[in-house]
């Protein structure tokens, strides 16, 4: 009965409008949460000399000055990690490779933070 109702009540034009609406809804959903859960594009690194944003496009190392001394960050395509840090707890090193938008490593004593960004994803991460 339901199928028959759809067939008789909907015209081709209605179908086109509904399909367009579904596509628009999908596009809006993607734009709303665009980038979340997708590949890592950039990393935002904060050290004692300010914030730098690096592209996660090719392998390299970056030394970042912090309050306790320099930390070494290792970049690979789509990922970044803190390889060495001068702080005692080294939680930022234990965080390992950061691969997804929203992944972050923060070293409070060293005043260092690293955050992975996607494509215009969100305003803040609750962590």
């Amino acid at each position: 009965l339901t199928v028959r109702w759809w067939r008789t009540a909907l015209t081709i034009g209605d179908g086109v409008v509904l399909a367009a609406g579904a596509l628009l809804t999908g596009a809006l959903a993607i734009s709303q949460w665009g980038g979340m859960g997708t590949e890592a594009r950039y990393a935002q690194i904060r050290g004692s000399q300010g914030v730098v944003t690096v592209a996660l496009d090719h392998a390299r190392s970056v030394d970042v000055p912090g309050a306790l001394g320099p930390s070494t960050l290792e970049i690979a395509p789509g990922a970044i990690r803190v390889r060495t840090a001068p702080c005692a707890g080294r939680q930022c090193v234990h965080a390992g490779w950061l691969r997804r938008p929203g992944d972050a490593a923060v070293c409070v004593p060293g005043r260092l933070s690293v955050r992975v960004l996607g494509a215009d994803a969100f305003d803040a991460v609750s962590y």
């Binding site: 950061l98 929203g102 004593p109 609750s126």
Partner: protein, 329 residues
């Protein structure tokens, strides 16, 4: 024509600044003001957070450190009206949460070496924990009258680590508003407060997962606050075992059974305290504690990785990466 073009002109770009305060990374984003005014407002918010940081370090030179040293010596100490009000709120939340949230565990936090910025251990021995548990300190044992605080329980020490960041977010929001800010997002570590909107759309918040990646996302209305507590925030590894900072006052050890809790309310102070209370309550009791605290939007990531959510959280939080939320009525 000129008016029409003016109406279409883009709003000023958001101004965003990060700094460290209250033992965590603070991020403030401001929309709708030119850069100079936005930076002045952020500067005022930062000053407010740094004021609280200096005053309320549990063993620092400020009023909270002074109070804790006095309590340890069996003496009394003066407290400001601001601290007295927050202590009263903390005591009420301690009662409402059945003691899962307890701001009187400063000595336990120190025993576990979580009172500094870089905890390393070692964990305390069983005898020290047993002695602390026997004393059972809590804010119920703190008397505050006429601007003076005292307690008969010398094991009582105040640690605002599970409520101070939410309070700080609220105070920083007041500082921003007093500088003409209507649209801002304040993230004090895992405690986030939304004011107004993000350039004409709601603020979008991502929730990180306990072992990396994201759990989901949600939008916040003006005045709403999000707080997250997780076993990944502050921890150390000792003899191959991982110890985290969310201590259960009932056992004297780090709480188990849950990896992460998220709370959304319109009160950042409640959100902060509730996130800890629900985490400590564990997988069997987090839902009833949420109810007792009047929290409707909450979710908990259990130790096995499954995610339980209140009906309101299931409606509000959009999962990502194929995560599944199990609704708990």
């Amino acid at each position: 024509m000129v008016l029409a073009l003016a109406a279409c002109a883009r709003a000023p770009e958001p101004v965003r600044r990060e700094f460290f305060a209250l033992g965590t990374l603070v991020e403030i984003t401001v929309y709708g003001l030119d850069e100079a005014r936005a930076l002045a407002a952020i500067g005022a918010a930062r000053a407010e957070l740094e004021r609280l940081d200096a005053a309320w370090r549990p063993w620092g030179a400020g009023e909270l450190g002074t109070l804790n040293r006095a309590l340890e010596a069996g003496a009394s100490a003066p407290v400001s009206a601001e601290l007295a009000a927050l202590l009263a709120r903390a005591a009420a939340l301690e009662r409402a949460s059945g003691g899962r949230f307890n701001a009187g565990i400063g000595q336990l936090v120190r025993l576990w070496d979580f009172d500094g910025e870089a905890p390393q251990g070692p964990p305390p021995d069983a005898g020290h924990i047993a002695a602390w548990r026997a004393a059972a300190p809590g804010l119920a044992a703190l008397r505050v009258a006429g601007g003076v605080a005292a307690s008969a329980n010398r094991a009582l020490a105040v640690d605002l680590g599970a409520i101070g960041k939410g309070y700080g977010a609220r105070r920083a929001g007041v500082a921003l508003a007093s500088h003409g800010v209507r649209d801002a997002l304040l993230a004090v570590g895992g405690d986030i407060l939304a004011l107004g909107q993000a350039g004409g759309r709601p603020w979008r918040i991502a929730i990180r997962g306990p072992r990396g990646g994201l759990l989901g996302g949600l939008t916040l209305a003006s005045g709403e606050a999000v707080s997250t507590s997780g076993d990944y925030e502050r921890y150390y590894v000792w003899n191959g075992r991982r110890f985290h900072h969310l201590l259960d006052p009932a056992t004297g050890a780090d709480a188990g059974g849950v990896r992460e809790v998220l709370v959304v309310t319109d009160d950042p102070v409640l959100a902060d305290a509730a996130a800890t209370a629900l985490f400590v309550a564990g997988p069997a009791h987090w839902r009833e504690v949420a109810r007792d605290l009047g929290v409707e939007v909450a979710l908990a990531v259990r130790a096995d990785g499954t995610i339980a959510a209140t009906p309101a959280a299931r409606r509000r939080v959009e999962p990502v990466d194929g995560r599944r939320f199990e609704e708990v009525p």
